[in-house]
Symmetry: C2
Subunit: 341 residues, 2 copies
DNA sequence: AAATAAATTTTACGCGCGGCAACTTTTGAC
DNA sequence: GTCAAAAGTTGCCGCGCGTAAAATTTATTT
């Protein structure tokens, strides 16, 4: 690598003693050339400083090695984490990931689609905005480019969907809460941006009824992705007005719960499972910050390791030509017991 | 845009009645062609569906419109936020940003440099890992590609540095804390990854001495970017061992403070400014979650709006040929009084 | 109206690599 | 040692656009 800078593949062909078409094959897939020539190439690569021009490569190749990763809101550490995970897996598989965030804005999501189209990606890993998404735009995009959806389920779109088994999350938590104390009220947004929220609500109702309890739901006003603030403001109103019929609150997600905990603090309501506590609060998702709330938040952990592994698996198989029907995968959550409930 | 799909610039030249070289100029910079021809192009653009092939464009252009944005740790919402801000500004200025995170790993930072080099970026906005960075790699990169550093100061590298006036942050907070209660102890990491931490420590010592107080510093063990966990674990040890000489703790940054608050909770130490509180805790940076800790964290807000505006300003000016000497800009912080101190 | 400057068109070539066809060499099993 | 398959080579064209130089048109100035 310290040697002379090579300008193009022809020049590298001269100095390495390998013909250009073979080099082209090597750079496309090192395994596609004989072991002995691969060794020769790699030895020359150590002596000379050469990397193929990525623009020239992509210009003519039918399929690039580009992979788009799109998340709805990168300032949410959950998405940052899963994006990191996906990114590493793509790199390990020899692809070039590019990271994009819709920042909660449908218009931006559509812009990202256009931007991705222009780099002819081999595939895309897409966590759509959800309810706010331009469904027709998503559908059109999925038809044009091999796309695996994750996190937010949009019925039937893309090669596959990989996400969490939301009903199981809620069942798990409702069971736990009922076993250890009063049955929970459900705290959620009235107009959630994420379709998972609807499944969670339904599962809450069903789980409660199966256990012989009456469901109680409090729906917070507010739009957008400032979940913590909505949880704080609306949770505070709910607490102040005595809207909850029990001492146990199950929040639709951790970010809402984090804001709700703040509201409890502001109203001097002691949260937790101790003798001196007035209220129990639980969340869902195991947000990176939930370990550090006061009290630490009891929640259901998303299996984002499995979600990301599965997503790239399906995408790369599809890219490499394997055809199979659209399938949905839902991973189970794991109960994380901490001191808030 | 609904019309027939055009395959290349030659074809678009035919249907639009503009020559290809002029179209090329237009797409490079619409302002570089006469208003009347610009109108003709844009009218044709409405009728026909055409966007230049981005790979072919970048292949021969000396300067692409690509801009790299590199942050040390994207799972930190502070960096996610500033990255979003930078991204939007780049798009608004007609550039194509690409987002990268070093994930706290020097090897990854170097990989990102290589990856960026291969896309011939017009410029790069780089928040380096700091102490862990491979200084020679950063220096070499800055020499090759116009780069503005932000957040972490590496002496003299790049076109410019834009960040926060760390000494002012600490002075502001130390002044406030001393005015309203006992002078603070300083809680920080022994081996901080970020050079800002060193400036903050020095400023703490100086500020305390100027006010006639004796500085007390507690340095937490631990490496890496899991600041909250380090703050919780080491803060807990410090509290348990009675390492603090006053009832007021100034944390080097908010993430450490968030963990420290958890430690306080775990030891049943009531934090805040009320009569019944035993300890005051303050942070620095105004992390997005600091508003929602219990109690909400008193801190110094980074002016990331100004930081990002300034960073792109300097970069784009440099790209457009304006030469001027290396300069460092430090923006002041704003005291955010909440109930933790 | 002529002179000058500026913008555009024409023409022509280059960028670095992908891909194909026809041919030659190497490989490995028998 | 034979021979077919696999791998590599040579030569050529195409991709879509950048860019330079010369010729032409258009706009501005005096």
């Amino acid at each position: 690598m310290t040697g002379k800078k090579i300008r193009n593949m022809d020049e590298f062909a001269s100095v390495s003693g390998i013909s250009r078409p073979t080099l082209s094959k090597y750079f496309h897939d090192p395994a596609s050339v004989r072991a002995s020539t691969r060794a020769k190439v790699e030895k020359a690569l150590e002596t000379y400083d050469y990397t193929p021009n990525i623009f020239a490569m992509n210009q003519n190749r039918k399929l690039t090695k580009n992979v788009g990763i799109v998340v709805p809101y990168l300032a949410d550490p959950f998405f940052a984490e899963i994006a990191r995970n996906l990114e590493q897996r793509c790199i390990a598989a020899g692809y070039r990931p590019s990271l994009h965030s819709s920042h909660g804005q449908p218009a931006l999501e559509n812009d990202i689609f256009d931007s991705l189209r222009s780099i002819k990606p081999a595939g895309v890993l897409l966590a759509p905005l959800g309810r706010a998404s331009d469904r027709r735009a998503v559908e059109k995009f999925c038809e044009q480019i091999p796309t695996v959806l994750f996190d937010s389920h949009l019925q039937g779109m893309g090669l596959a969907f990989v996400g969490s088994d939301n009903p199981q999350f809620v069942r798990l938590m409702v069971d736990y809460l009922c076993r250890t104390g009063e049955p929970p009220c459900f705290f959620e947004m009235k107009h959630p941006s994420n379709p998972n929220a609807n499944k969670r609500r339904q599962s809450y109702i069903q789980s409660m009824e199966e256990l012989g309890h009456t469901p109680h739901i409090f729906q917070a006003e507010g739009e957008g992705w400032d979940f913590e603030e909505i949880g704080r403001r609306e949770g505070g109103r709910a607490l102040a007005s005595g809207a909850f019929s029990t001492n146990t609150i199950l929040c639709s997600n951790d970010r809402l719960a984090i804001g709700f905990l703040t509201a409890c603090y502001e109203q001097n309501i002691r949260v937790g499972i101790g003798e001196d506590c007035q209220i129990r609060v639980a969340g869902q998702d195991d947000h990176p910050f939930s370990r550090f709330t006061c009290p630490p938040l009891t929640t259901v952990a998303q299996d984002y390791e499995s979600i990301s592994r599965r997503s790239v698996e399906i995408l790369f198989r599809a890219i490499e030509g394997e055809v199979h029907a659209h399938e949905d995968t839902f991973f189970e959550g794991r109960l994380v017991m901490r001191s808030s409930a």
